[in-house]
Symmetry: C2
Subunit: 181 residues, 2 copies
């Protein structure tokens, strides 16, 4: 599968089969994330993998209930990953402050996308999750209060393998060529 095929195959999967996710595949997804580029090579990320049934149930219930229940589908995912956004290195943080840009968020975007693309290649389905009860998740996972969990990922084998057509803005709306002649 070449990259453009992989990009088309990766999609948000919100319905999972019961098939367990092998640990070696999870490790390959994490390895792809580990190798992601980042501002000044800060690597401002860490991952808590929640794959045992007891923790998974507890975290899922806490994360996706109440006002967060729009993501309650994720309760059925056999694996959840909590992504901690770490601080950038001093020089990247300084540059980011000067530029008015939180580069560590961009970096988390890159690393998590590596994870989900590797997962798609392995036949797994994932969904990016941004809306969940972070406070409760951190409490259960013993993540220090001052740390930020901006993203969670749900992971499992898809209940069906239909690849949907992607709905996106047309290319002419999102790119132009600078022409000075």
């Amino acid at each position: 599968m070449n990259f453009s095929e992989l990009v088309k195959k990766r999609q948000s999967v919100r319905k999972y089969s019961d098939k367990p996710v092998p640990k070696d595949i999870l490790e390959r997804c994490l390895e792809a994330a580990r190798l992601a580029p980042s501002a000044c090579n800060s690597q401002p990320w860490s991952f808590i993998v929640i794959d045992d049934v007891k923790s998974n149930n507890e975290v899922a219930r806490a994360a996706f209930s109440g006002i967060y229940s729009s993501n309650s589908f994720a309760k059925s995912a056999p694996v959840l990953v909590a992504v901690i956004t770490e601080q950038s290195k001093f020089i990247a943080a300084l540059g980011g402050y000067f530029r008015g840009t939180q580069y560590n968020l961009i970096d988390v975007g890159i690393a998590v996308e590596h994870f989900v693309l590797q997962a798609a290649e392995e036949g797994l389905g994932t969904c990016w999750l941004g809306f969940f009860n972070e406070k409760e998740v951190k409490k259960i996972l013993n993540v220090p209060k001052e740390k930020k969990v901006d993203i969670m990922i749900s992971v499992g084998y898809p209940a069906d393998d239909k690849v949907r057509e992607k709905s996106r803005r047309p290319i002419d709306e999102i790119r132009k060529y600078a022409q000075k002649g």
Copy 2:
């Protein structure tokens, strides 16, 4: 090339050959970016491709001079891309406000990584750039003041094709498994 090979091949390229970059390859990189996922499918990105010599020289000089000359290598790239971070859709922006997270930055991270991975597969070299004179770049490219250009990408064929070993934190430092038993 499978995805883990591609991840290893993608690296920051800071020295380019004179070989011009074909437009159809650039378009495939942009297409990979276009298909990237984003919070609530906001697609908060647009791209200005600077590939004609005159604009390229003008933008490069403005972007990577003075205090920004640590990135002056990018002046020799035959193509530059300015990435505009657009606003998220209302619902994603509201969620982001509530969660204290700028999801459009994460989304830009995803889309630009799609671009550079596609480029790597095509044999192109790229470098993510965060430190440049945004004000001057926007002026030359007629980007409205209120818009943000957080990222630029330099693009060209690498001067050599040596793949370097990546220096990253060890896996045990960045992932753990939640274990409740």
